[in-house]
Symmetry: D2
Subunit: 364 residues, 4 copies
């Protein structure tokens, strides 16, 4: 199946394996006339780069992006933008029984059943490195959104049991966990250190706040804005759940509370509350869009684990090397990227929703 | 935007408004040679039909399905199957200020901002009646899956705070709430009766259990099996969250627990636990697939609610008529339908995953 | 395979068999706010209706269209427009050996090899009646285009060897052959009468002239405007060739002649000639768009023909009943319809080609 | 618009400009388990490489392909195959007024109207170099087809007025014009030499013969096999017409001749003639598939030509440098490539056409 392309008006096609020659993406449908250089993308890639704290893998990758097409004299041309990051740290090594075993919590077994073979080096295509292409595409879309006054900002909502409490977005980049609450970040750090001592790993929740999307964006049936955001987020490895607005909490409340009342404020239609998370019936309601996703604990842990190998024998496996004890902080920018792509795509669709819009465009 | 089509190999295109002449769907890509008649679909539609208990709207609709194409002499022909349900209860009535006001919790405001106008009768396209097309398509896909030994079964997991406890699937159809636990159903009934006395509404959680999907189905990147299931579920009106397997609980556990150990049992690769919900890295792992979604309380309540009208004036609105105090029970079959469509689509994709498969098919 | 949907921004999904209960289409992506009623569509359907001259089948079908959704108070709502035509002339009859034989020139054999079975009544899905859905969709798109000052007009270019010579579009609807040249129509009539005497059939060429499309529409690579028009036309049954502008004649000319010179005329960029047919490099060049397609002789003829049946026996077949000795005149409106859909779709895409366009749209 | 992706089950996304850093493609959906190395692709690329005869541009490009992903230990893994060719001959040069003028016969004017700006170096994205990605993808698909006993072979049918007469496929690669008839090749050579003396260019026709496709492949409505082949071919730059089987000649014949009679031969259903070109009603009929396309004369000629520049002034333009006086020979492999991709895609779709096929696949 050809399942490496995301989007309708803007399409993002990613390619590449963890230990192949390179990783990349083709981003098609970006409009002409936007300033873009490699630094715009590099800033985003650096946020997911390994080796930035004790909680991220030590793999030594510069992750330097090259733009290979679609930009001329510093400006997008409307043609596909091809970006590539070379894998520099791909020295051959002995993968031992990892090459032929199904690591618990990983996709190894599914791959073998699906394809009959697999590139076992570093997880191959199922490696977190696949997200490089997503992040590059997201950086481009986020720049486009910023031209329209729209911001997309994700952060760590919780790690294990530790939730952010005093929300201060300006603190997000001041700790290795991307938590917009220094006190929570401190507690989460201790929790993670304990996990690491146990050769264990942790999970968490990432939230994304999208501001500036006007009301009327998204489709009322299958391509609901929240349906597409959900697909976008669950397509990120290790995500096991998604919420929009109040999410699962809506199941326990009542309509009289959950219904956000509309009110005129300063001549604008506003909502007194935002239980909806900015989306009603699949269409943006003009309020902040809020989505969340749950990230499972890193499956690679250095404890010995019972499992099965390709010969269908019960064995024990030990996964050596340094692995992120939690992938939440590095996934924050991936969440941002996927949301930015999805929002851009929906904004483009909206431009043909009314005959008047089309007549205005073609009036000359 | 053309957002009324779902799926790749099998496509489902729904059409119709709550109070238009009819509601329907075109289901394309169903293989030739499957027995199919209207009764196969009617059984599913009857599960979502109004007027079946005190918890569902009294709207009097027979919801009788007609198959208009794609079936010849009782067997599918491989061409698109067009199904239609006529809206019989569409007598004109005075919608009062509902016609020009933004009902809280509804998509009315988004529709106006999106399209500049709307069919306000019964919610138009955003009505729950849109799901008739989904359910009909799901009935066909579920029949196809049953030919492959795959079952898709949804049920009410919780209503308000009341969760099922003693799971007994055979009890699901013995209560109006589709709860596979009579004791929980009884408590939930009391809870809902209290809601109704308060002119209020309730939400809940629906779970879907899919058995018999072999390992290897789903794609490793954007078209992950769980990503597509998530889009499928969140595209159902009122869904505000989705979980696969342990869902949000994974954020609080550790890798050594969350990793399902593979073990050989009776010569088969099995997992000792199923925290993954049957999907790892976007690919089925051979275990039961388990997904859940959160349904918000019915936004139509008979309490007076403050809101805004199309003239951008603050007003109070009262939504008269009988409305489901909870839509969870009627949404159960919709969840089943969307899962069945998604699983079928993924199974078809898998058939071209390996050169050997293709060579075997075309060997003659 | 789900191959009954055409288009990207506007999607047209057709359904229905020749002798099923009905034939129809779902047209999604039509913008809100356009006046539309059944008469707008009926005018187009009447142009392809059987029984209008001695050159068309006598099948007695009213082909009355119903709009089932997507229009409220006479105006499109932006939601899918479902249209349906009931098959009234579907009385059961004895199909004799047609039911089990492969008619020469028809798709019967391919259907059986593809699906293993087929609805043999009147050609089932491969009947010309399938084009009802296309024509209805095309009527809607043509109306939309007329709001933008764009016209789409097809006509018979030739029948057999007889080509139009003195082009006078106002004459097109004055003869049963849709030829914009009365003299040619007269000769073609005589040619067809001779064919009919021989129990034989004829082919022809249809040309479509599209005016008012601004330069800059269409994509430079796979979704070239002419590539999509070609797919649109060859997807019509019996079309065996397509040309854009000078078409196959370009193979015999030289660059210095074939290159249309650009010249400023009245302050506008114009071309001195239009060998390109209004499309260069897949993008409209502002000139009239001209495409042509070749239609094969009706395969159903009343002569006895040798063929093979489903038991793989050599037999002779006689196809009784009245058949169009030439389908060209009835296909003219189908060509128009497919062009209108394709042009609409491309116009919508163009609206997001530049950042400035998007910023202008979302400036508030 | 995102128009750089082709295909459904197999998708090909091309990227790159003539004088950008590189040109490439991502091919997704290729099944796992096929041997593939760079040489398999290089053989095809070498057939379109410049500088191979006096009739092709002298641009000095090695066009060495790199496979960046999707292949592990010499075998495809089922994940996207990224291929890249670096542009080595991209030394900066003075483009003079070409940078700001609309070359006759080129897409320059359309690009400016579409995007507001363009990469004028060597035609940017509209350069023939864009076909590198198509040819690489086609090479992979052709290899896959060869595993199924299917061959795809294109050749020059005519140049100017000179058609092949004595068809001998073994001669195709013995002349610079890819003509399977040495006598015709000799005459065409003389014709082209005369064109070159006049600083002019020529066009021609390419035919593609596809053998071994079983009956039953392709879809009866919009995704007709010939509709998709037509889109594939017209999406190649400079193609202005397409024919299937007898093509435009069908317009002048009669049904009794054009209908290919089915006959049993050696226990197989065969056709006595092949006017249909192997496709009836959009579905393969088991016979050889034959398609043709018309290629216009190279628009770049060294004669002075009147045109218009970006300031909307009438000017004369001279296009210096060496250009192919005819692009037909180099386009032959591009035609083969596009046909191979289209056939593969259709073969994959057919695998889910019948319930029996699906049950057989999933029977375990």
């Amino acid at each position: 199946m050809a399942g490496s392309t995301f989007g309708s008006n803007i399409t993002v096609t990613t390619w590449g394996e963890s230990h192949g020659k390179a990783i990349g993406a083709v981003i098609d449908g970006i409009p002409a006339g936007m300033k873009l250089d490699e630094q715009d993308i590099q800033i985003y890639l650096d946020r997911r780069k390994p080796g930035q704290s004790k909680f991220t893998t030590a793999r030594n990758e510069a992750d330097e992006v090259k733009i290979l097409s679609g930009v001329f004299e510093g400006v997008t041309t409307g043609t596909p933008i091809s970006i590539m990051v070379e894998n520099t740290d791909q020295h051959s090594k002995d993968y031992g029984n990892i090459a032929t075993s199904f690591r618990p919590g990983h996709a190894d077994y599914g791959y073998i059943e699906k394809y009959g073979l697999r590139d076992y080096r570093g997880g191959g295509r199922s490696s977190g490195r696949e997200t490089i292409g997503r992040v590059a595409a997201g950086a481009i879309c986020a720049k486009l959104l910023s031209e329209l006054g729209i911001t997309v900002c994700a952060y760590t909502k919780s790690i294990g049991d530790i939730k952010i409490y005093d929300f201060d977005l300006s603190e997000r980049d001041n700790n290795a966990l991307c938590m917009p609450d220094p006190a929570a970040a401190k507690k989460a750090t201790e929790y993670l250190e304990a996990c690491m001592l146990n050769n264990d790993s942790a999970g968490g929740v990432i939230e994304c706040l999208i501001t500036g999307v006007p009301a009327g964006v998204g489709d009322p049936v299958f391509d609901k804005l929240d349906a597409n955001l959900s697909k976008a987020l669950v397509s990120i490895g290790s995500v096991k759940g998604v919420e929009i607005g109040d999410g699962f909490a809506v199941s326990k409340t009542v309509g009289s509370i959950n219904n956000d009342k509309f009110r005129m404020v300063d001549g604008k239609v506003t909502k007194a509350t935002n239980h909806s998370g900015g989306i009603l019936g699949g269409i943006s309601d003009g309020d902040d869009i809020i989505v969340r996703c749950a990230i499972k604990p890193t499956p690679s842990i250095s404890q010995s684990q019972p499992t099965v190998n390709e010969n269908h024998e019960n064995i024990d496996i030990e996964i050596h090397g340094r692995h992120d004890p939690v992938i939440v902080p590095r996934a924050v920018v991936v969440v941002e990227a996927m949301c930015a792509i999805t929002i851009c795509d929906a904004l483009f669709s909206h431009m043909t929703d009314r005959l008047d819009y089309i007549k205005e465009f073609y009036k000359n």
